[in-house]
Structures are given as structure tokens and as C-alpha cells.
């Protein structure tokens, strides 16, 4: 065997390898792993989003919408019954003015604790498992009272990860979601889902158990919501050792059935002969204070909101009486290689208008996308689509007269997601997209704080308002509840 020192040959190998690498780098493709899109029936994909993206790709125009000059544009509000929030620039846009009807309801609640304020929080996977929303809810219930987790669907992909209420369900529910079904057998509920218990051989059931979160330790006044059908059915509620058999009378667009009055720890619902009745879910609230419903749906872009049936929603609204609708979307439209979001702006404007039609007079708050990082060369940085998307979200917020939370800036702006993931203890997950419990809590607090700042400002403006000025006509003719009540009403 050759035992001569081999140092220089060894060095030569390493050195030649470097040269070879440079050569390979030029000849071979840049990336090894294909990033093919998959399509399978078991994968959650927002079908409206795919359609919108496909349509958009026909008119390729990758210019980034929005210029810097636009950012400094002054937004001046109209005086509504003596209240006019100071003007703000597009860059700083928060739109508190458009939340006045919500703030007035909060104000009334603060004065008369028996009243009720309800918020619907629509979101995507960011709010899965009640993340963020449960913290917003806790903040509100801490200050304004209220007990209960609000409206809960029959089943959800993320039910297992939800701690604020535990729900388990039989596997034989037939589920339709607004995410990938355009024409459901029966209109979707306020949660964007409709469920059918049409297994004739086995019991179709759902079970709820209160979680351990503050103000959600019991299931308060559990109430079933179901839709219209030609046939009647039955449901058995099992609470502890008692079984209550009740009839389902599906005569109205939306019907409700109280399981029991008061607060319980858990119950099970067995549906029998209910095969054609659309079931939506259960509501848990104690009837006073603030209640926040979490309507999260993984993979949702927000566009499916536009296929809501306004009549059904109005029927829900008559029951639940929403004061604020929060729309928190964006994560699922970041991955399409485009920075032109005019298609999304158009689609979401339509969706917000559908919400306005469905919940007349309600205040709407748009929450922008959070920061998300992508690898550029070897470094994780803010995805180049984040800022264009956030701007387009701000645009449709302004366009539709909605309040706006710039979550991207709120969490620290450029490069903040990398920080949230890397810091110890971490506040976001290694996918550089989703928050963990700790981060979600921080986001929930940031959101609440911005909303609350607007509320405090509103109260101050309300104090100072000059009622001698004749109120101007409100732009939204339907918005009856927008009007600010006079204090004398309460006296």
C-alpha cells in the first residue's frame, strides 16, 4: 500500500471539488426539490381562490399596486352625529370612524351591564384552535363581562387543538364547507358550514365539554342552530345521566333549540331521524356582556364569504345580533407567486359587501396578513408578497368603509416573523407563518389594544361632541343601528 504522505493530493481533491462545484452550479438547476402543486380530494383548497388566481393569470400584470404618494393621502371622515375621528393618512389608516356603531354598543353595554355585544371573528388557520380569538374574547369579557365561547361548529379540522371548548363528534357527519362547495345541499350557516346527520344505521352525535379558559369554564345556555327542511327530526340531549328528547321543527330558515337553561359542564347530542335537516352548530353564551364567535377555516382566503346566502345570514343575525364582524385573512393568498393583488381586492370587496348585506348596519374590521418569511437564497426574509397584500387589504378596507388592523406592522413590520420564530421562548412556529400559543396571545392583545384605543378615543369624542350641530345624513342608508344614541335615552 502506498504510504507516502498524501497531503497535497488531499488538498488538491478539496480544491478541485470547489471548482467542480462552481461548474455544477452553472450547469445544474438551482433547486433540487420540485414544488409541484397537488390536487387531491383530501386536500383543503379554497376553490374560489383557485378560480380567481386562474382568471388573474390570464391578465398577467405584475406591477405592484399602490405608490408611495398614495400613502400620504389624507383620509377625512364625515361627522356622524357629532363624532368625527381625526383625519389620518393612508399609511396610518385604522378607520375607527367606521367602527362607531360597534363602539356605541360597547358604550351602552358599559353603562348597562345587562346588554349584549356580539363579535364574529372570521379567519383562516391563524385562528385555528381558537388561537388569537380566545385572547380577544378574554380581553373583552374581562372588561365588559360575558361568559361563554360563542358559536361552535359541529366539527372542524382543528377541533382537537381547541382548548377553549372540547368537542368530539362521530365520523359519520356529512359536512359541506363554503371552502370547496359552491352549491350546498342547503345554505351554509353563519360558520360557513352545514352538517347533515344522514347515516341511517349509526347514531350521529356530537359532544361538547367546557374548557379551562377564563370565562369559558362552563357551557352557558347551550342552543342548537339548524336550518329549514321539509321533514322533521329528533335529537336526544344527554346531560350527565339524563336524556332529553326534543323535536326538531325545521320550518324557518334558521331555527334554534335550547338544550337547557343555565350552565353545564358537558353534554352530548344524538341526532335521530334528522337526515335531511341542515345542522349548523351550537351557541354558548350567558346572554350578557361580550361574546366572540370564532369562525376559522383552514385554507380560507376570505373569498368564499361572498357565496353566503344573505337571507339565511339575516335570520342568524336576528337571533345572535352581531355588532362587529372581523375578517382576518391573507395567509392563503401569499403563495401564488404574484404581487398584484387587484384580483383579491376585487373579490374581497365583493365578500365584504355580502357581509354588509347579510348583517345590516354591522361594523366591519379587516385584519391584514401577518408577517410571513420565505427563504431568499439562504436567508429567511419577509416574503415579498406580504407588503403588497397588506396594502391591497388596506385598500378594500377603506373602499368598503371598514376598520383596519395592520397586523404586519403591529407585530414589528419587516423581518418580524423571523424574530418571533427565533427568539426564545419562540412566539411563532417554524413554518414562519403561524403563531404558537404564546405568540397568538400577544397578537390577541395587540388586536384588542388597537380596538380599545379606538374605543377610548370614541368615548372622549362622545363626551365632547357638540349636539347643536345638526347630524349629517349617514352614508349607509341601511345603517340604522349606526346612529349614536343620545345620552338622554339612558336617563
Amino acid at each position: 500500500m502506498n504510504t507516502k504522505p498524501y497531503f497535497f493530493q488531499s488538498f488538491a481533491i478539496v480544491a478541485i471539488a470547489v471548482v467542480a462545484f462552481v461548474g455544477f452550479k452553472q450547469v445544474l438547476p438551482d433547486k433540487i426539490f420540485s414544488e409541484s402543486k397537488m390536487n387531491s380530494k383530501n386536500v383543503l383548497i379554497d376553490s374560489l381562490l383557485l378560480e380567481a388566481v386562474a382568471k388573474d393569470s390570464l391578465s398577467v400584470n405584475d406591477s405592484i399596486n399602490g405608490t408611495d404618494a398614495e400613502g400620504a393621502e389624507e383620509i377625512v371622515y364625515e361627522n356622524i352625529e357629532g363624532i368625527e375621528f381625526p383625519s389620518e393618512t393612508f399609511d396610518e389608516y385604522k378607520g375607527y370612524q367606521y367602527l362607531i356603531s360597534f363602539y356605541e354598543k360597547l358604550y351602552q353595554l358599559e353603562k348597562n351591564p345587562g346588554q349584549n355585544v356580539r363579535i364574529a371573528y372570521y379567519g383562516d388557520s391563524m385562528t385555528d384552535g381558537d388561537l388569537i380569538v380566545q385572547d380577544v374574547r378574554t380581553n373583552y369579557q374581562e372588561r365588559f363581562g360575558g361568559h361563554g365561547v360563542g358559536f361552535v361548529s359541529i366539527s372542524s379540522e382543528s377541533a382537537a387543538s381547541r382548548g377553549s371548548v372540547k368537542s368530539t363528534y362521530s365520523k359519520n357527519w356529512k359536512t359541506q364547507s363554503y371552502l370547496n362547495v359552491k352549491r350546498p345541499a342547503s345554505p351554509f350557516g353563519v360558520n360557513g358550514h352545514v352538517f347533515f346527520a344522514n347515516d341511517k344505521n349509526n347514531v350521529t352525535w356530537v359532544q361538547y365539554e367546557a374548557g379551562t379558559n377564563k370565562y369559558s369554564t362552563t357551557l352557558d345556555n347551550p342552543t342548537l342552530f339548524y336550518g329549514r327542511s321539509s321533514k322533521k327530526g329528533n335529537v336526544n340531549f344527554i346531560i350527565g345521566k339524563d336524556t332529553l328528547r326534543k323535536n326538531l321543527n325545521p320550518s324557518n330558515l334558521v331555527n334554534s333549540l335550547k338544550v337547557t337553561s343555565g350552565s353545564i359542564k358537558s353534554f352530548k347530542a344524538n341526532f335521530v331521524h334528522a337526515d335531511s335537516i341542515p345542522i349548523f352548530g351550537f351557541n354558548f353564551d350567558n346572554g350578557s356582556g361580550v361574546h366572540v364567535d370564532n369562525f376559522s377555516q383552514r385554507g380560507n382566503s376570505g373569498l368564499p364569504l361572498s357565496i353566503f346566502n344573505a337571507n339565511v345570514m339575516q335570520a342568524f343575525n336576528n337571533n345572535l345580533k352581531y355588532d362587529l364582524i372581523i375578517l382576518h385573512y391573507g395567509t392563503n393568498v401569499l403563495n401564488y407567486g404574484t404581487k398584484n393583488y387587484s384580483w383579491y381586492e376585487r373579490g374581497m370587496t365583493k365578500a365584504v359587501n355580502k357581509i354588509k348585506e347579510s348583517f345590516p348596519g354591522v361594523s366591519i374590521l379587516i385584519v391584514s396578513t401577518a408577517d410571513k418569511s420565505t427563504k431568499y437564497d439562504l436567508e429567511m426574509k419577509t416574503d415579498s408578497a406580504v407588503v403588497p397584500l397588506m396594502k391591497s387589504q388596506k385598500k378594500y378596507a377603506l373602499e368598503t368603509e371598514s376598520g383596519f388592523v395592520n397586523l404586519y406592522m403591529l407585530m414589528g413590520g419587516d423581518g418580524s416573523m423571523v424574530k418571533w420564530v427565533d427568539e426564545s421562548p419562540a412566539r411563532a412556529n417554524k413554518d414562519y407563518t403561524h403563531f404558537n400559543q404564546r405568540g397568538a396571545k400577544a397578537i390577541g392583545n395587540l388586536l384588542y389594544n388597537q380596538l380599545n384605543k379606538g374605543y377610548e378615543q370614541y368615548k372622549a369624542l362622545r363626551e365632547k361632541r357638540d349636539l347643536s350641530v345638526k347630524p349629517k345624513v349617514i352614508r349607509n342608508p341601511k345603517a340604522d343601528s349606526v346612529s349614536v344614541k343620545n345620552d338622554s335615552v339612558n336617563e
Binding site: 467542480a20 462545484f21 384552535g129 412556529n429
Partner: protein, 560 residues
């Protein structure tokens, strides 16, 4: 001039223009850019270093000093100012080792040994465990002590153990001390194994310093083969599957299906093996290129037929260190010691306490606690030599508990160590009750069964090792427990993560390849001409690069 210009242009085209800012970045500590073997910066620095090294091969002190300086720079790049800590601890340890060596009375030797052990463990304890202890104390006694802002110097667990081995071996008169501080510092700071092992023993390494430096063709072949394998294992398999799959699932296990949780557990098993053994292999390979032979650190551990076998194949340098200096020092299989009784008692007491306090919410913790205590008792009560087995098992269990804690400050590491300690005891009593026939090798099916069982036990323990905390580990296990047979659904998931699962499969197939096959590959590699070897190495660099720039896999949601 045109040639210089064109070379310059070519350079800029391929590497980009180099600014002074960048050059400064190569030499200044940056906490976000550690100098790992699989980085381009290391490759560049090593090339320059190695070129000079080859010229110095015939010198002695000049060469040692040269390597020491590079090692210190290497450490500075990883831990900044804390390279001074390395220097300081080496001065103290060297001084103490000289005193121990020169002392004539046994009692004096012992006193200085104890001082050095306390100093070393104190240093390690402060940097690694201080905050863990404060948190534990605050939790248990509702204390309100502030956490210290402690930076964990890279590799402190490794070089502390290495210097301890030097002192203890001198005390045991297994080695003679080095002639001077330079030689000692060379041993402690040797950069290939400095930050992540293998933990090189003084008695293996010191003799090599004094030998005439030589590097044969065979050495280079071995080194390149190790480096290539290590690069692929660490940067391709381990990094890709962790970022794109395993980390996500372990972040929020409940957001994923049972099948994904199961696959993430298998994924983590191959990830940690590839990460750890890959880095070890690179360290051994680089040391070999410099003419130093470090002992093998992993021998395809998942092929183990028992948990005892596993610990002879997994992180060998650590397990032998623990055996020689912790287990034997406590009395090994001969006698009991205070520590040997203390730690298992605390552990089992804590376990029982946990079972009792959580009895109101669930009976499972109490069952787990009772069963583990029962198992541990049975492991010596069933033995024919009860007293001796008790002592052995206590010492073994303590070794595994502390070994678990060495991997990180956290309750989940203790649980991980305890599970392994318990399994070792159970396996020992099993072997005593059902001895295998020595003359006959076990049949294929029994062997296969043993490997599968051992592997799954190890994977189970890794869940605790990986999970952020104890609760998350239980969530993963709970979720896997709800697995149902749904092949259609599994297929969808596998297709969704086809890159990740492909790499996992590649990792496992590679791992379980028969040794004859890998040896065959090695001998083919040995026979290829120098140029081809270089090109293969260059190709591997490219694979590393291409994987590193690959964007992360987009999110997939499954609906079921």
C-alpha cells in the same frame, strides 16, 4: 490585463462582488451565522488553512500553534468572546492536572481531583443549568427568582467532558500529562471535535500528537467518504425534513392527523441520527485529513437488537465516557454510592408525586408511576444476585438520568434518560431469566422482531427528547394512539409531503443497508481516480447548496 479583468469578471459573476463589509463578516463573530462544517465559509477558510498546514506537516510546535490559533478563531466565530472561557478553563485544568500528577500523597491527589471536577461541573452547571434550576425552584416553591441572562457557549458540554477525561485519567495514572501547555491546549481546542464531539479521550488522542504526522491515501479515502456521507446526512436529509415537516408537527401536534404525528416521530428518529452522526462523521473526516484518527461515534444504531446494544452504537464517545467516569466512579456493578441512591430516589419520588397530584384529572400518571417503580423493583428482585443487581441498576439508572440531563436542561430530557435507564435494567433481567444460547445465533425472525421492538422503543423515547415540553410530548403520543387504518388518507399525506417522505425513506434505506453493501460502495470509491473523487465531492457540495436554497414546502391542509 484583459486576462485579469476577465478573471475578475468571471469571479464576480460566480461569487458576486466582494465588499470589505463581507470580508469583515468572515472573521467577526456573528451569533446568527455559526461556523459549521457544512457552510461555504468553513470550506473557504479550511482550504486556506489546509494549504498552509500541508507545508507545516514536518514541524511540531509551529504546527500545533498554528492549529490552536485556527481552533480558537473557529471557536470565536461560534461563541464570540467566550473563547476566553475556553482558554481560562484550559489554563486552570492544566494547572490542576500538573499538581495531581506531581503530588505524592493519594489524599492530595484526591483533593485536587475533587476541586477540578467541581470547577468543571460548576462551569457547565452555571452556563447550562442555572436557569433550569431557577425555573424548577420557582415552580416548586412558588419562588420569584429572576432568570440570569446566560449565553450558552457552543460545545461547552463537549470540551468540559474532554478536559475532565484528561484529569481523571492522570489521576488514575492511565496517561502521563503532556509536556507543556501548548500540547494540552492543542488537545482541548482541536477544532474538528470542539463544538459537537465526538468526545475524544486523552489516552486515545495524546499519543497521536507525538507520532510523526502522516497521511496515507487510504486515510484520505476514508476521510472523504465520511465527509461526503456526513454532508448528505446532515444538510440534505436532516435539515430538509426537520424544517419542512418534523418541526411543524412538533410545534402544534394537535393540528395534525395521527398519521402525520406518527410519521413526524419516525422522521425525527432519522433526523436526529442524521444530524448528529452526520456532524460527527464530518468532524472525524476533517480530523483525519489533518492526520488525526478519532474513534467512530455511531455504528448504525437503529440496527440494534436490544437497548443495551443501542447504547453501544449510539453516540459511543459519550456512552463510554459516562460509563468510565460516571458509572464506574459511582461504583459500577460492584458497590452502591450516595449519588447512585439519591438520584433514582428523587426521580421515583417525583414520579409518584406527579401521579398522586394529577389523580383528580386522570389516573394514568399514577399508573405510569406505579408501573415504572414496579418494573424497576422487579428488575432486581427477580435476579439471583439481588443486592448486586440493585446496586448496578441504581448506578446505571443514575448514569442515564444524568446522561439525559447532559443533552439539555429540561424535564423531558430527564424523562428520556429515565426511560432508557429503565429499559436497560429490564433488558438485563430479561437476559438473566432467558439467556440466549451462546453457540447459536438467533434465528432471523427473532432478530427482526428484536430490532423492530428496540427501534420503536427508541423512537418513543425520542418524542420526549424532541418535544418542547412534557405536555407536548403527551399530545404527540396521545394523537398517535388514535391512529386508525385509513390507507387512502395516508396516501394523500404521503403524496403531499413526497419530498420529505422520500428523503426519510432514503435515510432509512441507507441506514439499514447491509454492511457488505456499504463496504462495497466504499471500495469502489477508493479505487476511483483522484479527479473523479474531487468531482464527486464537488457534486455533493452542489447538492448541499441546492438543498439549502430550496424554499420551504408550502403548507398543506388535509381534510378528513
Amino acid at each position: 490585463m484583459t486576462t485579469i479583468d476577465s478573471i475578475n469578471n468571471w469571479f464576480i459573476q460566480n461569487f458576486g462582488a466582494i465588499t470589505t463589509e463581507q470580508v469583515k463578516g468572515w472573521f467577526v463573530y456573528d451569533p446568527d451565522e455559526k461556523l459549521l462544517f457544512n457552510t461555504g465559509l468553513f470550506l473557504g477558510l479550511f482550504l486556506v488553512f489546509y494549504f498552509v498546514y500541508a507545508f507545516l506537516r514536518k514541524t511540531f510546535y509551529l504546527r500545533l500553534t498554528y492549529v490552536i490559533l485556527f481552533s480558537l478563531f473557529f471557536y470565536y466565530k461560534s461563541s464570540g468572546i467566550y473563547f476566553l472561557l475556553l482558554l481560562l478553563s484550559s489554563v486552570v485544568d492544566y494547572g490542576l492536572s500538573q499538581i495531581i500528577f506531581k503530588a505524592t500523597k493519594d489524599s492530595t491527589k484526591k483533593i485536587y481531583l475533587v476541586i477540578s471536577v467541581i470547577l468543571n461541573l460548576g462551569l457547565l452547571g452555571y452556563f447550562k443549568y442555572m436557569n433550569f434550576m431557577i425555573v424548577t425552584f420557582n415552580d416548586m416553591f412558588h419562588g420569584n427568582y429572576k432568570l440570569h441572562d446566560i449565553f450558552l457557549p457552543v460545545g461547552i458540554s463537549f470540551y468540559t467532558f474532554q478536559s475532565m477525561s484528561y484529569i481523571i485519567e492522570i489521576y488514575r495514572e492511565e496517561i502521563k500529562p503532556t509536556k507543556n501547555y501548548i500540547e494540552y491546549l492543542f488537545f482541548v481546542s482541536f477544532f474538528p471535535q470542539l463544538v459537537a464531539g465526538p468526545i475524544v479521550r486523552a489516552k486515545d488522542f495524546l499519543p497521536q500528537i507525538y507520532e510523526k504526522l502522516n497521511l496515507t491515501k487510504q486515510d484520505v479515502n476514508n476521510a472523504l467518504f465520511l465527509i461526503i456521507g456526513g454532508l448528505i446526512k446532515k444538510t440534505v436529509i436532516s435539515n430538509y425534513i426537520s424544517v419542512n415537516f418534523v418541526d411543524r408537527v412538533f410545534d402544534t401536534p394537535l393540528s395534525y392527523t395521527s398519521f402525520e404525528n406518527l410519521m413526524a416521530s419516525y422522521g425525527y428518529a432519522i433526523q436526529i441520527y442524521c444530524d448528529f452522526s452526520g456532524y460527527s462523521d464530518m468532524a472525524i473526516g476533517i480530523a483525519l485529513l489533518l492526520g488525526f484518527k478519532l474513534p467512530a461515534n455511531f455504528r448504525t444504531p437503529y440496527k440494534s437488537v436490544s437497548i443495551t446494544d443501542f447504547w453501544r452504537r449510539w453516540h459511543i464517545s459519550l456512552s463510554t465516557w459516562l460509563k468510565d467516569f460516571l458509572y464506574i466512579s459511582m461504583g459500577g456493578n460492584r458497590e452502591g454510592s450516595f449519588a447512585g441512591y439519591l438520584f433514582p430516589s428523587i426521580f421515583f419520588f417525583g414520579l409518584l408525586l406527579w401521579g398522586i397530584t394529577s389523580y383528580n384529572t386522570s389516573i394514568i400518571p399514577l399508573i405510569v408511576a406505579t408501573v415504572s417503580i414496579l418494573l424497576f423493583c422487579l428488575s432486581f428482585l427477580l435476579s439471583s444476585k439481588k443486592k448486586q443487581t440493585l446496586v448496578t441498576n441504581l448506578n446505571l439508572f443514575t448514569t442515564m438520568l444524568l446522561g439525559g440531563l447532559w443533552h439539555g436542561a429540561g424535564a423531558q430530557f430527564i424523562v428520556w434518560g429515565a426511560l432508557h435507564g429503565l429499559a436497560l435494567a429490564v433488558h438485563k433481567i430479561f437476559m438473566e431469566l432467558f439467556p440466549s444460547k451462546k453457540d447459536k445465533s438467533p434465528n432471523f425472525f427473532w432478530r427482526f422482531f428484536s430490532i423492530v421492538i428496540t427501534f420503536h422503543f427508541v423512537v418513543f423515547c425520542w418524542i420526549f427528547f424532541r418535544a418542547r415540553d412534557f405536555e407536548t410530548a403527551l399530545q404527540v403520543i396521545n394523537n398517535i394512539g388514535q391512529l386508525t387504518f385509513e390507507p387512502e388518507l395516508w396516501q394523500t399525506i404521503i403524496l403531499g409531503y413526497k419530498n420529505v417522505f422520500g428523503l426519510m425513506l432514503f435515510g432509512y434505506v441507507w441506514h439499514f443497508l447491509p454492511e457488505t453493501f456499504t463496504n462495497g460502495m466504499k471500495s469502489v470509491f477508493d479505487k476511483t481516480p483522484l479527479l473523479i473523487k474531487a468531482i464527486i465531492l464537488g457534486f455533493v457540495y452542489w447538492i448541499v447548496y441546492a438543498t439549502a436554497v430550496a424554499g420551504s414546502q408550502p403548507f398543506i391542509y388535509f381534510q378528513f
